[in-house]
Amino acid sequence: MKKRKADMSEYILRVKDIVKSFVGVKALQGVSLDIKKGEVHCLAGENGSGKSTLIKIVSGVYEKDSGTIEIDGEIQSNLTPIKAIRSGVQVIYQDFSVFPNLTVYENIAFNSELMDNRILANKNRFRQIAQEAVEKINFNVDLDAIVGDLSVADKQLVAISRALINNAKLIIMDEPTTALTQNEVKALFKRINDLKDQGISILFVSHKLDEVFEISDRFTIFRNGQNVFTGPTSELDNESFSYFMTNRKFQETPYEGKPQDEEMLRVENLTSEGEFYNINFSLNKGEILGIAGLLGSGRTELALSLFGMNEPDKGKIYIKNNEVEFKDVADSIEHGLGYVPEDRLTEGLFLEQSIGLNIVAANLPNLSGTMDTIDGEATENEITTWIDNLSIKVADPKLPVQTLSGGNQQRVVLGKWLATKPDVLILNGPTVGVDIGSKHDIHTILKELAEEGLAIIIISDDIPELITLSSRILLMRDGQINEEINSAETSVAELTEKISLDIDQVV
């Protein structure tokens, strides 16, 4: 019976002419998407192009205004989350939707137990369900572990295992690689290919170019709530992909500015037990230095120590040849350091506060005079200067920063740091979650800043980004600088391989 039904349709999902509008915005203006059985399909598009809205409609979270949805040959009229799950559609959200306080087996088993309307909780049955699920993807994990203690990648695998127990036919992964490092992404792709072999379709939602090319069979690209491309991956290349996404053409040019002779930052034998050891490097005025490495290689910890967040155990930091010791973040800001953190939303921005206050947030000491009084005029000037300089698109700087797009938000964070007039700016994943257009703009800004003499350190998982922007790249591994690489003498493939060297032996 089941088999016949499968033969009936080549497609697991067909959506046609979907229209959906919210509060004055037409999010989807009649989009279509077909996913074949057992294929990896990529849905790409900039932020706000309507990808997430379509996912929510397909998974029954939102109601469509018009259009048809056909899952496994059956037209679905009033789709609810439960109906969607019953018909085999599973969504793995960006945050994985796990319970950090509960065990792995409970996290995996809850969904299916609730689907079966179970009243009683039975640990043994939970464990059995979970065991089967993790075996499906060869996921080696302690079922009794608390999920909050797992790594990001393992949390994702918990979410994938959970999706599989409900006989998923289509797994939708929303930006699944955002929080993963290169090697974790590799491991994930391996598992996705296994699922594909089992006849399960994957809808991969992403805007990271290189990755989606590698894994996807076919592509659908949205722009402003409309289809702009559907077809096999072979019909796309980097250039046309960017063009479809943004309707703009980009030419990424490497940073060609020459570092000046003046040394801005030097680090000698910097060590923080359990995090990084004997770090030595120097950074000149107008230079962009890249740091590559896996999550846990000590790269973020090193940045935090340079920024006065964590006190190093040993070693010395020199700024303009003067030895410094940072008591706290404020101290390091005063010495001319700035840090654009990894996670824009939780560490970089005050979402509900005004754009203006966000821009001056790190610069309040400089804007306040006697008795802590804030200089209103200077503050206004500062805000307008940076909005202009970084061409941040704002209607009114008094509006909350959350009304801005991702790219503009990242510019606000950048503006916040540039307002402190730093000599050295450290950026950790400066373009994570930023769309192609803004990414290009941010790169241009960084290159200009370096040309004007700012010393920049970029920590990134984005290898092309590192190679384009920086002249030298420090490769960190196990808390140590493993190698210093000249960007001009390496390629994306070579560097990727060097970084991934260790994990390949594991997988």
Binding site: P81, I82, I85, Y93, S97, V98, F99, P100, N101, L102, E106, F110, N111, E113, L114, M115, R118, I119, L120, A121, D144, I146, G148, D149, S151, N183, G274, E275, L294, L295, G296, S297, R477, D478, G479, D502, I503, Q505, V506
Partner: protein
């Protein structure tokens, strides 16, 4: 790893209970006498009942400080109404009536907290004020010394009686203790043996995820606050019976001790973590300290101070340990990651 930590919290609380008991015994020589133990168990009935429902609410990431007001209001109304018709029937109706009234009060809390999604502390602060105002203002409640006969009988009913060999004074384990045990068993069953109870943990861990997983979050949250109201109603009757009077105000302030006990027992105030056993141990520790003050000859006005001190020390130690644990977990996570890489 965390599981062990929680176990440790309970272990430590039990250890502290033992140490304090020994200290009191050395000072007064009376702690481990059956009479004293029975007295403490006796005194644990009311806070114990409150602890069960409060723990469940805190576990879900919520808060309720209105339960003493609910207990006072419902027991007063129940007794007053039944007195006015010279009720001479059984205990069952009395409990049912108080429980229904309590459920209604809990429903109001649930509506504001679960349906309107408002901060639980502020909501229950408001409803507490309303319930107290109803009791003391609208009903102009005074102490009632005449109770329905069934309540007197219920109070005298004893599960176990002990007589002090020296003084001849007797101590009872009252029937209310059975109710306490029954509620504990019920709560334990719900929390650990039903999907509904796992849902309480799930909500405390991540409310949005719980919704996505298919838990009926609204129903669970309604249940918790209504359950708290019901338990408050029953507890009010148990307490009035034991005291042989209904007093409009003498329960007020107990919410502090109850919350303190739950937190001492290892529950996290943001929800998701903790065990019923730990909460009950925490409650027992506080009850024991309060009860033993008389034994040690410390004047009653020291009580508030001691409870406050224990709360501050308890939460400080818990918070400090959380800080250390968070640090440790982070390093461990990084380590395990590195190990994975190094393999």
């Amino acid at each position: 790893m965390l599981k062990n930590l929680v176990k440790k919290t309970e272990f430590y609380v039990a250890l502290v209970i033992l140490v304090i008991a020994l200290l009191i015994h050395v000072r007064s020589g009376a702690f481990f006498q059956t009479n004293n133990i029975l007295d403490i168990l006796n005194a644990s009935v009311v806070p114990g009942l409150f602890t069960v429902s409060t723990f469940m609410i805190i576990l879900s990431g919520g808060m309720d400080i209105s339960f003493p007001a609910i207990a006072a209001l419902t027991s007063y109304v129940t007794v007053d109404v039944l007195n006015s018709i010279n009720y001479e029937g059984s205990m069952v109706l009395i409990f049912v009536m108080a429980a229904v009234l309590g459920a209604l009060c809990g429903l109001v809390n649930a509506f504001f907290i679960a349906s309107l999604n408002l901060p639980p502390l502020i909501v229950t602060l408001g409803t507490q004020s309303v319930y107290r105002g109803l009791l003391q203002g609208a009903l102009n409640a005074q102490q009632i010394n005449m109770l329905p006969p069934a309540m007197g009988k219920f109070a005298r009913a004893s599960v176990y009686t002990a007589e002090d060999p020296v003084t001849g004074a007797t101590s009872h384990l009252p029937a209310g203790f059975i109710i306490f045990v029954a509620v504990v068993i019920l709560a334990y069953f719900i929390l650990y043996r039903t999907m509904f109870g796992r849902g309480v943990y799930a909500i405390g861990g991540d409310l949005v995820s719980a919704e996505r997983a298919g838990f009926n979050v609204l129903a669970i949250r309604y249940f918790l606050y209504i359950f708290s109201g019901i338990v408050a109603g029953i507890t009010g009757i148990v307490r009035s019976s034991m005291n042989q009077m209904v007093h409009p105000t003498n329960l007020f302030g107990i919410e502090m001790t109850i919350i303190a006990g739950v937190i001492l027992g290892g529950a996290s105030l943001v929800g998701g973590k903790g065990s019923l056993l730990g909460a009950l141990l925490g409650m027992f520790l506080l009850t024991m300290v309060q009860n033993s003050m008389l034994l040690l000859g410390i004047p009653g006005y020291w009580q508030t101070f001691f409870v406050g001190l224990v709360i501050i020390l308890g939460i400080s130690i818990t918070s400090y340990r959380n800080l250390v644990a968070a640090d440790k977990a982070k390093t461990l996570r990084d380590k395990s990651k590195e190990e994975l890489v190094n393999e």
